[in-house]
């Protein structure tokens, strides 16, 4: 397995999956991200990212039961796999290392 780093949006999606646990399918995932980041996420973007994460082996998915409010269409649930956890851990480590000792208020900048 190559040491490929997840992108920013991929990390956000992975974290949303971790937070939601067993109840993670399209609608709650979008809501979770929107609630926490304030970013509007479209279904197209979300599923494209989830598909990519699945290809990378970071997440696994399975189908749930159909429900009437969805016009009889089933839900696709997602869960973060061991590789995904590993990738998150690594990202967290790298980010923490980079942020270490930084106080943005003290950084000189061109305004």
């Amino acid at each position: 397995m190559s040491r490929e780093h997840p992108g920013e949006f991929e990390v956000i999606v992975l974290l949303a999956l971790v937070r939601l646990g067993e109840t993670a399918y399209g609608v709650p995932i979008r809501h979770e991200i929107e609630k926490r980041t304030g970013r509007a996420v479209t279904v197209g973007a979300l599923y494209r990212t989830l598909d990519r994460l699945e290809t990378k082996g970071y997440v696994a998915s399975w189908f749930g039961d159909p429900s009437p409010e969805r016009g009889g269409r089933s839900k696709r649930y997602f869960r973060v796999g061991p590789l995904g956890i590993e990738a998150l851990r690594q990202t967290e480590r790298e980010m923490a290392a980079m942020w270490e000792g930084i106080d943005l208020k003290k950084v000189p900048h061109v305004s």
């Binding site: 996420v41 479209t42 973007a45």
Partner: protein, 869 residues
């Protein structure tokens, strides 16, 4: 509350993801149906689903960028276009022109035939019309498809889909009493009219159920804001005052909102309860309200929440089938559609037909624009060959390049479309003004809302995108063709030639149509209808509608004729039920002796002196004389048709009109264009007036000098409350000339525009061909070709597609010109002048356009040319 998910969007999602990914659609549906998200949000999700699939977005990781999968292409396209502002400006402006004209015409069509009724929540209003099959007579006071009072009440009381149903009878002509009585247009309405429409009057009240308690009851009226301001000086205490309608006093109970003009395209000036019909039309149509076999009401229902048009159809058809059981042999078919100004089936077919023809005509202008731009792009592609080759060599695929070029083209199309859309609203005032200025003065005001709405926007967007595809796709595919075959130049030439041919063909159709209309207009100005209209005044009134009994009407007519004859300068006076060439036509069922079948024949009821006054020659027998009863005069064609060579005089005709009686033919009149301009009536019968006709007769006065003012005083003295109209008989011609003038101006200006665009296109192609062939021409000339033969070659090559296109255009126009034949008075739909003259002019202009580049080719200096490039 759960909402219905738009099926179109579901379909588009399925198209994008396929059946195996239904969970995406499920997610979107779940959020939408729960009510949390707007329809706009659903569309954005759909867009994102497609955008995420676009190859251009492969590198982007974040979610936000995915809204704009083509952002790179768009940026690149902007740069390319801004580097070539001349091209961009020409392209955008010509698309704006083409799209603008189309958008303006469509918004007119939209206002007339598509917009829901202008009342709150008008989309829920459903119009109901009916057609009976099976041999059964039907009385009509309005349109055939309307309902009777009893039928309205049946549907109203038995349906389960409408929260309420209203009925109204539009176009009630009534005489408004006062110092100068005049005819105004009003509406008979069921008493729930204002409540159900959601249009409570601004002042006072609408109708109460008690107003509609019984036939003849409810002498109350709601006035339009216009009438209230004009006649009552916006009197704030109007409620309770009296207004005189058809000599009946009605109490004003309310004034409608200024924006409300009724539920028809023509403005309504007042509304009265429909139970007032027998009282207001006592002499002219006494038994309309109570007749269960009388078409006179337009019926509209307001759908209950959650009900659909399909359910309404099913429900009402059930009721209709139940009613049919009481009339064996009768079947009813209902026409149930969202109510608008053209939901009555006959009106609808006319409006849709006319709309289709006009939209087709303006569509042709857009087609010419597309052809021009496609040619421009083909020329431009040659200049970009190097750029395209470089992009290929660094690894771009053809699909990517086509996408890039199409992004540019669609960008240009959208910019042009947006400009045209905005400009069309400005242009609209001009177009509408041009049309209104050409309408006769007595046409009522129209209730057309031509403002933009979603439909106009959608139509404009659709034709804009279609335009982008039409002018852009072929050049984009052509420009990115790898390894062009050796004959690439040639096939490109064929494409260019085809485009020029298409332009010329479209232009030809418009110009010939314009030519036909202008010829017809000229004919209408100069045509001799076969009788004399000069110095004749027509005094029109409808005594029956204004409450005259037949006896009183006869008395009035006698006095009027006597006094009018006595006016100085008046040398002839006659009466007629219909003035010649007016918009009114009367048909009776006639049975000619020797035949057994009753035929519908157009007739007129005329007094003695009518033929002399109009100088209409009597060729056999004599004209009507005082004392003639039940006599008839037939036209020459009528006599020939029914009695062949035999003498018509003394033959009898069984007349089935107001009542049945036999009439004896006493004379034969020369054929003339009595009821249709440009068409001598083939069968036409004149009858003597009986007592029952007295209320319908109008007066014709031949005088020199014009005695209009004296006549006006005279009528006023006889009956100060009578609404009447005096105008020169020649004014009747306006009725025939108006549609010609409107269509002639429209077709002429479209044709002119098309001609300008097409000649630009022809010039552009010829000039481009010459510039590409400078070297070749130089070689030809170096080898001995003279200037004349070079010029001839270029001219011939650029004229060949023009000639082919012209031939196609002539054939195409011959195929469609029949639709115009109804208004081409005295001019054949294949008029040789139009069909020969227009092509000559068009080809002359085309030769001029290609002559200039050809002359330049002939001036090429071989030495310079060989050094060229």
């Amino acid at each position: 509350m759960s909402r219905k998910f738009p099926p179109l969007i579901a379909w588009l999602f399925r198209l994008r993801y396929g059946k195996s990914s239904e969970f995406v659609l499920g997610d979107v549906m779940e959020e939408y149906v729960k009510g949390g998200q707007s329809r706009w949000w659903v569309w954005r999700q759909l867009w994102s689903a497609y955008a995420a699939a676009a190859p251009g977005s492969a590198q982007t990781e974040g979610g936000d960028r995915m809204f704009w999968p083509l952002s790179n292409e768009i940026r690149y396209a902007m740069r390319t276009l801004s580097r070539n502002p001349g091209f961009a400006a020409v392209a955008i402006l010509s698309i704006a022109l083409g799209v603008g004209v189309n958008s303006a015409i469509f918004s007119l069509f939209n206002a007339a035939a598509l917009r829901p009724l202008p009342v709150p929540d008008g989309g829920k209003m459903i119009g109901i019309y009916q057609t009976f099959h099976g041999n059964r007579g039907r009385n009509v006071h309005g349109e055939m498809g309307m309902l009777s009072t009893a039928e309205y009440q049946t549907y109203r009381d038995h349906n389960s889909v409408f929260s309420a149903m209203v009925a109204y009878s539009p176009f009630l002509k009534a005489t408004l009493g006062g110092e100068t009585p005049r005819e105004i247009l009003g509406t008979f309405a069921s008493c729930n009219y204002f409540d159900v429409l959601g249009e409570p009057p601004a002042k006072g009240r609408g109708f109460l159920p008690s107003d509609c308690a019984a036939a003849g009851a409810g002498a109350v009226a709601v006035l339009s804001d216009d009438l209230w301001r004009e006649r009552f000086s916006a009197d704030p205490t109007i409620a309770g005052k009296t207004v005189i309608l058809n000599r009946r006093a009605c109490t004003v109970v309310g004034v409608a909102r200024p924006e409300f003009h009724g539920t028809e395209a023509a403005f309504s000036s007042f509304w009265v309860p429909y139970t007032m019909q027998p009282a207001l039309e006592a002499e002219s149509a006494p038994n309309t309200f109570g007749n269960s076999n009388m078409s006179w009401l337009t019926v509209i229902g307001r759908l209950k929440d959650g009900e659909t048009l399909a359910r309404a159809r099913a429900d009402l058809n059930l009721i209709a089938a139940r009613s049919d059981r009481q009339y064996p042999g009768r079947t009813t078919s209902l026409s149930i559609a969202r109510a608008n100004f053209a939901s009555e089936p006959e009106v609808r077919s006319i409006v849709l037909g006319a709309g289709a023809v006009i939209l087709l005509a303006v569509g042709m202008v857009l087609l010419i624009v597309c052809a021009n731009l496609a040619n421009l792009l083909l020329a431009r592609a040659l200049g970009r060959q190097k750029e395209i080759a470089i992009r290929f060599s660094v690894g771009a695929t053809r699909a990517q390049l086509v996408r890039q070029l199409m992004t540019e083209n669609l960008l240009v199309a959208l910019a042009g479309g947006a400009l045209g859309y905005l400009a069309s609203f400005a242009a609209f005032g001009v177009i509408l003004g041009a049309i209104l200025n050409r309408l006769p003065a007595d046409v009522p005001q129209f209730n057309l809302n031509v403002g933009p709405d979603l439909r106009v926007f959608g139509y404009t967007l659709a034709i804009t995108l279609a335009t982008g595809l039409a002018f852009g796709l072929a050049p984009a595919l052509r420009a990115t063709k790898i390894n062009p075959k050796p004959d690439g130049g040639r096939s490109q030439g064929i494409l260019r030639g085809g485009l020029v041919g298409a332009q010329v063909a479209a232009c030809m159709v418009l110009l010939i149509a314009g030519g036909l209309l202008l010829r017809a207009l000229y004919a209408a100005q100069t045509v001799d209808p076969g009788f004399q209209m000069k110095d004749v005044l027509a005094v029109s009134f409808d005594l029956r509608r204004q409450g005259y009994s037949d006896i009183r009407a006869a008395q009035f007519q006698r006095q009027l004729v006597e006094r009018a004859s006595a006016l100085p300068g008046v040398d002839a006076v006659a009466q007629a039920r219909v003035t010649p060439l007016s918009d009114t036509h009367v048909g009776y069922g006639l049975t000619f002796s020797g035949t057994s079948q009753e035929l519908p024949v157009e007739i007129n009821v005329v007094s003695p002196g009518y033929f002399a006054l109009l100088q209409l020659p009597i060729t056999r027998g004599r004209e009507f004389a005082a004392g003639d009863r039940n006599a008839a005069i037939v036209t020459e064609s009528t006599a020939r048709r029914f009695w062949g060579g035999a003498d018509a005089i003394g033959k009898t005709i069984l007349v089935n009109g107001n009542h049945e009686f036999p009439a004896t033919v006493i004379g034969v009149a020369r054929d003339a264009q009595i009821s249709h301009l440009g068409k001598s009536n083939e069968t036409f019968v004149y009858l003597t007036p009986g007592v029952v006709d007295q209320g319908t007769l109008k007066l014709l006065v031949h005088s020199r000098p014009n005695q209009q003012a004296a006549l006006r005083r005279l009528v006023r003295a006889l009956d100060p409350d009578l609404a009447f109209d005096i105008r020169p008989l020649e004014r009747n011609l306006e009725w025939w000339r108006t549609p010609l003038r409107i269509l002639g101006v429209l077709a002429g200006s479209l044709g002119g525009l098309a001609l300008l665009l097409a000649s630009m296109g022809i010039y552009g192609v010829a000039a481009f061909a010459v510039s590409r062939r400078v070297r070749e021409i130089g070689i030809r000339m170096a080898l001995g070709a003279d200037a004349g033969s070079v010029q001839g070659m270029i001219l011939w090559q650029s004229m060949r597609p023009v000639l082919i296109g012209a031939a196609v255009g002539i054939a195409g126009c011959a195929a469609v010109s029949k639709v115009l034949s109804g208004i081409l008075f005295g001019v054949s739909a294949y008029d040789p002048m139009a069909f020969a003259g227009v092509p000559v002019v068009l080809i002359a202009i085309a030769s001029l356009a290609s002559h200039l580049p050809a002359r330049r080719a002939a001036r090429i200096d071989p030495m310079m040319a060989l050094r060229h490039e």
